[in-house]
Symmetry: D3
Subunit: 236 residues, 6 copies
């Protein structure tokens, strides 16, 4: 029997200032994913004719059952840093940065409510915000060519009580012996594969199962993205 992901709800244009603003809900995890376009690039890219995508991730203090302190101490914790970098890399993998031109797309993923899978929800939601932002940009100042080459989505899989499970909520995530985040394109290519056994290790057989379940989840997410974006979906 095929594995099923948690119910997904997507609300585009949730706020009005960002050209891409997606409220993405997967189970009880809710992330506001926005994309804003800035007509400049980081210093190390200046004059090279290519663009960039940055991402920031944050959890609101009230997003967790015990209040989470804000990132205000001048140090961002390691987990936040890792997630931000993962979101940025995942989106850059499906963008032709040269076609983007010398502009930066700033992605912000702010978790309003957390119940496991906030980083994969961020990637899946941010992709749709990115599409909306690029579409809005086309109206104003046409890009030379459409810079997106594929869609991208992400899902978690894990081994919980010895069993491979798809799309872990918080309780399962905490209980998991092995935790894996998989980022794939709509066309079925891997972008990132991060498997971690903190309390345990995993063998070849388990690795194969984890990847297989993850692919099932990604397919479902890709279909949701396709339906949500409607005419803006250009990846078939």
């Amino acid at each position: 029997m095929a594995a099923t992901i948690r119910p997904v709800k997507v609300k585009r244009k949730f706020t009005q200032h960002a050209p891409g603003s997606v409220l993405y809900q997967c189970g009880n995890t809710i992330v506001l994913c926005t994309a804003m376009i800035e007509e400049q690039v980081p210093p190390w890219l200046k004059g090279g004719g290519q663009g960039w995508i940055t991402a920031e991730y944050s959890m609101l203090p009230s997003s967790t059952s015990t209040r989470k302190g804000r990132d205000r101490g001048g140090k961002i914790d390691g987990r936040t840093t890792e997630i931000q970098r993962l979101i940025g890399r995942s989106l850059r993998a499906i963008v032709d940065l040269k076609k983007l031109g010398e502009r930066t797309i700033a992605i912000d993923c702010d978790v309003l409510q957390a119940d496991g899978g906030t980083r994969t929800a961020s990637i899946t939601g941010a992709f749709m915000a990115l599409v909306d932002a690029l579409h809005a940009e086309y109206g104003k100042k046409p890009l030379a060519e459409y810079p997106l080459v594929d869609s991208v989505a992400a899902i978690s899989v894990g081994i919980v009580d010895g069993k491979v499970e798809l799309d872990l909520d918080y309780i399962k995530d905490v209980a998991a012996e092995v935790d894996m985040n998989v980022v794939m394109t709509g066309k079925g290519k891997f972008v990132e594969l991060q498997g971690t056994g903190e309390e345990a290790t995993f063998d070849d057989e388990q690795l194969a199962q984890l990847i297989s379940k993850a692919k099932q989840g990604i397919k479902q997410l890709t279909q949701i993205q396709r339906e949500t974006l409607g005419k803006l979906w250009k990846f078939d």
Copy 2:
């Protein structure tokens, strides 16, 4: 003719982890106001038998038309600090901290979309989140006596092009010669009065008009709070 505030929409229980979670919209300003209860007080109050209310305020990067950097540099900007302190003082003014007992209510006001009046929206929305959080707490671990003594709401007034105006949106706020934030209780007492003329000064006559308009706004907000809270409203 009486002055009218911008349309207000309130959505209680917007997120599920915080016992008080209010999505407060006033015109195009949207603030998520949450209240969470922690069973401890700051060090300087330990053992004194009284509670405390803290408040944090932040704007999401995508809440403004030009992306706003996060407060991550280890320094919170002066404006944020002032607003946080104002929200905290305003709520403490209508709470009997002794009756609260040795617990802290942590208020978080996260601006999702900004169009002027974010600090007054934060106070008005946070009051309702506070009521919900106290109500939830009553179920679990009854407080000795109800600690709220009055309601509180806040509104901005200003002088724009020489004319006194109520509830300024962003465009008017930027244009205002004089800007005043007024925090009042449902029973009509002042909690805070902050009038500032950066580019200009104001005289007695103008001060009287500013205060008069602010009172009209506060009355309308108090009525909205009363209707929204229904049976939880205990301040008449």
Copy 3:
């Protein structure tokens, strides 16, 4: 009977490097207020032809009866930030920044001894340092036109034991139910009005009395400024 402020002593040219250097004493509060002129403006004003006034406020560790730690942790506390911003706004309100030209006046208010009212003493003293600095500047490199349009002074009022009091010292300040700082020009216009009831609220009648007493205090301070500045006073 008219309310009276605490005795004021003013020593101009207290130190020699700053063109404006005023040791301002009000009761037992002593603040060194200096004004220095820099021939540049903050980045956001460059090329606009107008000047700027910034202000910094600090208390020496030995200024209070219990030693106060220095602002060295990379975070300025909220109170300091609020006071610095208030001083800056108050002085900018009586300066025609266009006539100042593209220069910045840096105001520093360092509290040598604190006994209540340090922020209002800072404003009142800094105004005189500002006049001295502009006068010194006139000698060197004449400004197109005199940029000061009025004088400015500030005083605190409060409700202590239910009674409205003028110019609170530290003991009264701590005991006050309501605390208000009023900044006014020599010509009787309001610049700032900041009334706060942390433990209490106040009504219309009390507001009227607070403002009335504050005006009496401002008049006395303005007279002291006039006498101190002698020929440099140009605001009648």
Copy 4:
């Protein structure tokens, strides 16, 4: 033909203060890996009877051809944070923290010379420093039972010019379309699998090849660890 890793040299007891001190060289990458034992655990583990392993990673400024600034700004960069967390997780995966008792093993990996693969060299070298430190500890204050359950080593693989390569040096690492770090135990279980395609994606076939080559590298490293540790090797 089997893939071969770069030449490895290991010097144990390189410095004298840390009970485990290994100078690990792989190709032109040189890392000083040390392990020190502290008789306390982080606050969240106090009283639970189990131990902990932390890891810090740093590159000396002169370890790279262009001088690298020190981590002194109060912010550790994202890459460093990710690597530190990876090293810690990798070592904890082969330690029975309960048998360790309430002590912390602090691992430090300081890169003296960098030529690709510094994170995998850190893990492989730190494992040997960990064994030496535990052995030294046994002499002083016998642990109840030997806490190590397996060995651990790490290697990088990647796709360079479309070809799967093992143990990338800096030039290949920069050129790689896909970069994967694999952490495995001596008994052949996976601990971590981190595959990233920044400029590219990878398919199932390539994933299989990457994992296969990584396993060949891990086997060689495990053999080197076995020979180096001699009688201290207890994992067959």
Copy 5:
């Protein structure tokens, strides 16, 4: 002919909250030196029965002809750190910390006006503030025995245009090839000797002359301290 130091003025009890508060002027250098007593010691001395002396040094922004930024960035500059440590060591050298008991004396040296020699002025002035603070403490809570064993003073010497000079003002200090600060007790013992040739070196002959001139200066300062402290001088 004997070398002469710049004119010195000392004003004790300059502010009222610190039990020792000395406004020390030497030439055009003015430092406010205060000493406050705290009934606790740093953590590493707790329970050992001995006291401690700490020192902080800061220059007001207006103390120099070009405005000096405040130490607010979270990093104290190297020069400030060196001076603070020097002041603390110099005062601890003449105090029997055991006789002081478990209390800390916090010395603050705030430069109001700088014209060379601010660190040596700080030491010389702080010694008198320390005597006053200990004397005030004797009244309240008698120390077992008088903890001061000698007086301490400090002076700068340098080589300017090849000539050995005493008590350098700012212009000479900038021009000096060799700069030396000498801290000595009233009884003629060395506490610190810090000679630096940034642009130049110095030989044995010059070293002898520098030390000889410094001793002449210290004698004059010690005499001023003796006269200023009157009956509180107990070091002959």
Copy 6:
């Protein structure tokens, strides 16, 4: 009988990326001293035609018997700052910065193992790294003239149990009543003289002995530098 320094071992070209890389061992103190050349100068020297030398000093966490935390909090401790500044000044004293041209030599001294005298070891070792770096530079892009005018070395002396001792190891350093670091050139000129009596003072006779022993140590170190550098030694 002449005083003798601890055994010294020097390994040049210890790492390959820095043109000067010296592993300097003196007794049980081991410091990696590197020199790298950057083709730019700090902002305040731009366009002046002269070069600069900066120095950074750090101790690896495992260099001491109790693990030492890294300098990552955004604040460098006072001792580190003092040592860095000392190393920089000492090397600049023997370099003709004009002949260096507009380039910066970045010195890094990383202590791998500490047993007293790390700052003096840093200076003595860094001098040799500097010579190697300049020599490597000559090959690539000839400097107008050789910028080194003398050699430099440093040694510690102290009074331990009333006796003057040369080249203190950690145990003696902790026990020393007086601690002095002396930096001298190969030609016998003083560069720095820093004598400190934290728990004690010292008299003229002791000062003379301290300086005499230090000179004996410097001579031995200079001879070691001469032999180590061979043909690159150009200072006789």
